[in-house]
């Protein structure tokens, strides 16, 4: 009788034991098994292939060094995910900033009486339908790329990597209120950019 869940758990326990014992084959197995997801994480944060690879390497070396600190209460994948996020953020702080748009220019405008300058409308289709088309997915990614880095990073950590507000604040050295403000502005800016293409055509 085979139970896939059980097999996975047994494998994970064996890998953790091997990691703590500094067993080379366990380390290799961990790199092969968890590397793809960690590389996806560092790519999303850094958007630069070489930096993303360097961050994955930093993350694994840091994991191997601090294996004793892995309590086992968390899943191995969750622990590695946090390490990879931090490694990517370290790389990001070290590199030079790209020129970027101001967040103010991407936020909605209001008239003096508080009405929208440009009235928002529903989108032409629900999210699942929009996501069916590859051009739309590419467009969504290009819009996320246009967000200023401070805002884009908060959006990626909270909405894509699913860190909670406290974790995001700690990882970025921000206050909880600062994370909330940036996330709200990032979502507003992204909504505006997406609306340019997805809003229902008005008659």
């Amino acid at each position: 009788m085979s139970d896939p869940e059980r097999v996975t758990e047994d494998t994970e326990q064996a890998l953790v034991a091997g990691l703590k014992a500094r067993d080379p084959s366990a380390c290799e197995a961990i790199v092969r098994r968890h590397g793809p997801v960690l590389l996806a994480v560092t790519r999303r944060i850094l958007r630069h292939e070489e930096d993303a690879r360097d961050a994955v390497q930093d993350a694994f070396l840091s994991a191997f060094r601090s294996a004793d600190g892995f309590a086992g209460a968390a899943r191995l994948s969750t622990w590695l995910h946090r390490i990879a996020v931090n490694a990517a953020l370290m790389r990001m702080r070290a590199r030079r900033r790209r020129p970027e748009e101001s967040i103010e220019d991407l936020l909605p405008g209001f008239l003096e009486d508080g009405h929208h300058v440009r009235e928002p409308d529903e989108w032409s289709a629900p999210p699942e339908a929009l996501l069916q088309r590859r051009q739309n997915r590419d467009y969504i990614r290009s819009c996320i790329d246009r967000l200023p880095e401070d805002y884009r990073t908060v959006l990626v950590l909270r909405d894509i990597e699913e860190l909670d507000t406290d974790e995001t604040a700690r990882a970025l050295g921000l206050t909880v209120a600062g994370v909330k403000t940036r996330l709200h502005r990032a979502r507003q800016a992204l909504r505006g950019l997406l609306a340019d293409r997805f809003e229902a055509v008005r008659r």
Partner: protein, 84 residues
């Protein structure tokens, strides 16, 4: 007498409304505005949709091309050997 809130207020406080962080009085004013302002309802829907599509589009792209280049795997293992 409950003062009116503007579309701008709705946008400013939308995250707190969605997170259930407004007090009952603020929530009542917020919902009264929404009940009479289709553009703000559209704003709220599309604000939520933006987060949904962002997550799907970013995850889709990079996890589909799963796998770690072999040279990276080898580089990590070499670096580990060097330091241990």
């Amino acid at each position: 007498m409950i003062p009116w809130i503007t579309c701008r207020d709705v946008v400013d406080f939308l995250d707190r409304y969605l997170a259930g962080e407004l007090d009952p009085d603020e929530t009542a004013r917020f919902e009264r505005h929404l009940s009479e302002c289709p553009p703000c309802v559209a704003y709220m829907h599309t604000y939520q949709a933006a987060a949904v599509v962002a997550k799907a589009a970013l995850r889709d792209a990079e996890e589909a091309t799963a796998g770690v280049p072999e040279d990276l795997v080898q580089a990590i293992l070499r670096a580990r050997d060097d330091r241990s």
